[in-house]
């Protein structure tokens, strides 16, 4: 068994477990990604409530743990203990299975997300098609949930959401195609659909596709960035769950664990579409300015970022400890937050040690770890920016009316994305 485990760690050329045919490591990756996404969803839940509160000059959750840090855990326990009500008139089986459809679709796409050149479960030849196809299955969960509830608001929410997702998928697909076209600008003239291949094409061409053919890549990215908000049913396009019109839309009748599965699926889908945007336009796992600021010195400076980020988080936690009121009531909270700061500081120290140890030698285990950490860090960092933007949009923009939403989708975004696609093809032919 140790040989089995070491075989993948020692292999000289880095490939994904899927390409190596190693089921053991594929399973390990799947577990790591599942755990990571679940933790990210909890963190995102806390951050969203806090950030929204601060946008509106409120405090947000403050009671459970220091600054409400344990609120997601408390929420999860509450949701699990809550009575699971199935309405009498509902279609029992379909009502039961609907949240699982959305969850499965949202988590299946993570098999091809490229966290690094070898940090993905598998590198499919059809990567981007697979991601778009499977994430479009998620809407089936919403539609079926709305129908199975056998109630008016959920049904209208489901109809809205399916119409909206079908409409925006068109513009989204065309924007993606224009990015895929850019991957074919190499010596052989053959593009690729593989997620890792798309990032490597940006690496070879020395430019992120958002800056390629200057306004064209940016416009395609903009269209994708708008369409992905509609795809994930987030504000300002959250017509499917508009609480002022439809109570809670498709999940009005859901409660307890099943409702939380919908939330988990929604946030997992948000992370997944952000990853598509990052991989296609923002250079995936590449650090900023790899072609301007290159060389071992810059590599070393940028490899300090993961450790420094955790130091920053630890420093924020320490400030929280210092500013906590000196009352015996806050003693346990103070100890907890101090322990949290210590854990963050320890992780930061570990990351810095790895960065320093792996700075020169290219073959040592430390160097491989440093590389892997760099790749995953920059990918996650870019995705995290998108996640914050999702919150920011929600706090800033009022909800669209449904006919306005459709009008923008079909009459503005679709023509623009078609023009961008044709222009990209023309410029690409002229350049090559």
């Amino acid at each position: 068994m140790p040989n089995f485990i070491m075989s993948y760690l020692n292999s000289k050329d880095a490939i994904t477990p899927g390409a190596a045919g190693s089921q053991f490591w594929a399973l390990v990756y799947v577990f790591i990604i599942f755990a990571g996404v679940s933790v990210a969803v909890m963190a995102m839940n806390w951050l969203e409530r806090k950030a929204l509160a601060h946008f509106q000059i409120r405090l947000g959750p403050m009671r459970v743990g220091p600054h409400g840090l344990l609120q997601p855990i408390a929420d999860a326990i509450k949701l699990m203990l809550k009575e699971d009500i199935i309405p009498a008139e509902a279609d029992q089986f379909v009502f039961w299975v609907a949240p699982l459809i959305g969850l499965l679709a949202a988590f299946t796409v993570y098999t091809v997300i490229p966290f690094g050149p070898s940090q993905a479960v598998s590198d499919m030849n059809i990567g981007i098609l697979f991601m778009l196809g499977v994430s479009s299955l998620g809407v089936l969960g919403i539609v079926v949930a709305g129908w199975a509830s056998n109630s008016h608001y959920p049904l209208i929410g489901a109809l809205r959401s399916s119409a909206q997702m079908v409409s925006y998928e068109v513009a989204m697909g065309l924007a993606v195609v224009s990015a895929i076209l850019m991957t074919s600008l190499n010596a052989t003239g053959t593009g690729t659909l593989s997620m890792i291949g798309i990032v490597q094409a940006q690496q070879q061409q020395g430019v992120w596709f958002i800056f390629k053919f200057f306004p064209l890549g940016l416009i395609a990215f903009g269209i994708f960035a708008i369409a992905m908000i509609a795809e994930t049913n987030r504000a300002p396009f959250d017509m499917a769950e508009a609480e002022s019109e439809l109570t809670a839309g498709y999940h009005t009748e859901y409660s307890g664990l099943r409702w939380s599965l919908f939330m988990l699926a929604e946030y997992a889908a948000m992370i997944a579409v952000s990853s598509i945007a990052v991989a296609l336009w923002l250079g995936g796992w590449m650090r900023p300015f790899p072609n301007l600021l290159h060389g071992p010195a810059w590599d070393f400076i940028f490899s300090l970022f993961p450790g420094l980020t955790f130091f920053g988080l630890a420093a924020i936690a320490v400030v929280g400890v210092v500013r906590m009121p000196a009352h015996s009531f806050f003693r346990i909270q103070r100890i907890g937050l101090a322990a949290f700061a210590a854990v963050l500081g320890f992780i930061a120290l570990l990351l810095l040690v790895i960065a320093v140890a792996g700075r020169s030698a290219d073959t040592s285990v430390a160097a491989r770890f440093r590389e892997g950490i760099d790749y995953v860090y920059w990918f996650v960092f870019k995705v995290a920016i998108f996640m914050y933007l999702f919150i920011w949009y929600r706090a800033t923009w009022p909800r669209y009316r449904f006919d306005q939403l459709m009008k923008i989708g079909w009459k503005v975004m679709l023509p623009i994305s078609l023009v961008v696609l044709i222009m990209t093809a023309i410029v690409g032919v002229l350049v090559s």
Partner: protein
């Protein structure tokens, strides 16, 4: 067999891409497809039928993947399971299921359906029995990594060679465009 393909296949096998537990996966997927296919025609509730049809389509997608046809599999998910079935559900949900499921089900087309099913069964049995004579004795299994490129080469031509199916492909897409325009013109009174 083309030497480039052959070397690609060998390298794929060398890299450990040989299929895993093939018979087991095949029987599970095939069984799933058959059972859910039966559910499609036996359920009285149209939404249940549609859901069973989605399961059938996804099981067939798995079979495509086992045949080293990932592009076809992706298009199957994208177009059928994701797009068309969503529209099916969209329409079915607007029908009053309560009333239609209590209506007497009638169908005068069952003799035709039975004949078609028997013909298809006969075809399958023939293919199964005389398969060795009817089909080439070994399948060209393309390496997974070049499947999409092969399809593109067939459709659009590659390396200075005209594609074999370019005309048919373009005509088919024109036909779809005409159908879309026709649908728009028939439903919209004023454009």
């Amino acid at each position: 067999m083309n030497p480039a393909l052959n070397s690609g296949l060998n390298s794929a096998v060398n890299a450990g891409m040989a299929p895993v537990a093939t018979p087991c996966f095949f029987y599970v997927l095939a069984g799933l497809a058959v059972v859910s296919g039966l559910l499609v025609i036996t359920r009285r509730n149209a939404v249940h039928s549609a859901l069973a049809l989605i399961v059938t389509l996804l099981a067939v997608t798995g079979l495509y993947l086992m045949l080293y046809a990932p592009f076809v599999a992706a298009v199957q998910i994208f177009v059928y399971a994701g797009g068309i079935m969503l529209l099916f559900l969209f329409v079915i949900m607007l029908v009053n299921i309560e009333r239609s499921s209590k209506d007497r089900q009638f169908n005068r087309m069952w003799p035709v359906g039975l004949a078609a099913a028997c013909a298809l069964l006969a075809l399958f049995v023939t293919a199964f029995v005389k398969g060795k004579a009817l089909f080439p004795d070994r399948m060209i299994s393309l390496p997974e990594s070049s499947n999409t490129q092969q399809i593109a080469g067939m459709l659009y031509g590659e390396a200075g060679r005209m594609g074999e199916y370019t005309f048919a492909f373009e005509i088919a897409s024109l036909l779809l465009l005409v159908a879309i325009l026709g649908a728009v013109i028939m439903t919209k009174k004023k454009i």
